[in-house]
Subunit: 230 residues, 2 copies
Amino acid sequence: MLQTSIQSRHIQAPLSSFASRGAAKSETNGARSFESRVTVKAGEAIFSEGDAPFYFYKIITGSIRLVKVVADGHRQICDFLLPGDLLGFSNASEHEFTAEAIQDCTLTRYRRRETDLAMKNDADLACELQALTARGLSGAYAHMVRLCHRSAYDRLAWFLLAMASRNDGDNGWIELPMTRVDIADYLGMAHETVSRAFTQLKKAGAIIEPTLNRIKIVDAEALEDKLIAA
Amino acid sequence: MLQTSIQSRHIQAPLSSFASRGAAKSETNGARSFESRVTVKAGEAIFSEGDAPFYFYKIITGSIRLVKVVADGHRQICDFLLPGDLLGFSNASEHEFTAEAIQDCTLTRYRRRETDLAMKNDADLACELQALTARGLSGAYAHMVRLCHRSAYDRLAWFLLAMASRNDGDNGWIELPMTRVDIADYLGMAHETVSRAFTQLKKAGAIIEPTLNRIKIVDAEALEDKLIAA
DNA sequence: CGGCACGTTGAAGGATCTCAAGCTGAGTGG
DNA sequence: CCACTCAGCTTGAGATCCTTCAACGTGCCG
């Protein structure tokens, strides 16, 4: 999913266009009435499954996990979001997952009442949001394939490659903000299995991890060999 | 997913509103220029993954599976669609899955060039399509949870309940248009496992199946007990 | 120092997959 | 009408991957 997740920065500036449209409507002297900045501490929820969606958000700094909880105590992490990603904009009557900060986060918050109104009045904007949602759907389908038809090692290999493709600035080094348990709940396996898969990949020389959660992919082909299809 | 899939009939008539809008634009004397009727034989593809999306469709009769194929030969069925459902409307640059007829189908086909134009000019319409897409995304997330955290029997039980909720007209009888292999590829397990799960449910008295693929849920609670959460 | 969250590793058990064989029903052709 | 074929379904047995339980290690923080 990560590669195809709901990322405004991978589409030609949909939210920036959104923001500028909004500004054109209600900007008075530099402040936009429907837009504000919020901060969230690590571990706190931005909103919860079932909440009424008063706002949607764009991540400025930090990272977020989208969580669905099951009554038996299991969690499913549907996606990880990084700076630049949009969040909570599917216009259902209630949020369909919980969004929790993995690290301390700063977000731009948009009031939905205004933005919904803007959508109604602006077809281009609505089309953009539709495209973003469709992109999310596409990613979800792709993730489904992986959850079903890949071994634990394949899934982790794919996950690391996907993370690498999002963090390509730092000379190949990837900072993983999430814990092993988070990864496990995202990839649908036990956290012990994640741990074993990491060990395996390190022993095979495919990755190195000098300090916890800071990794570098040494042998990308070894990882890609595990992935028969994209 | 089924319960929350992209179903126009479960939302207040989005496509009918769509069709009427389109009609208002281009209807001349009863025929709408961008809309036509097509039929597809069982097993044939309506469109394939990667195709350019010239059309989207609404199912009149028959049933369809959305398939993603993996290079190793495995398939993932992302969703089953029944009469009334929409198909192929996510406005990506290419179709992200293959749509195959399970039975002989009749479809209404809409030319995307016109409908896209209509979307650009009609924000309400764009919002409706966005809502449909969001609904699909929600269903995909829910399906993800099930694929990861449920046993084979749980998954089949959920699947049958979902099918029942869509076929509630026939006195509790459900006609399953898809094969065991299709179900297996939808639920992410081997077809032998599906078969065993069916046998188990029949022995437990939860369902009866006098003739193949025609089933009735006798003890819904027995099935629901397997589902801790919705 | 103690507590705690997170990560690693081992061992055992179990759910599911794979391989293999047989069954059933529909369609076809003689 | 019957034999044949073929696709789909069922069942069994063994193998395997993964989960679960358990113990231990490590780094952080009060």
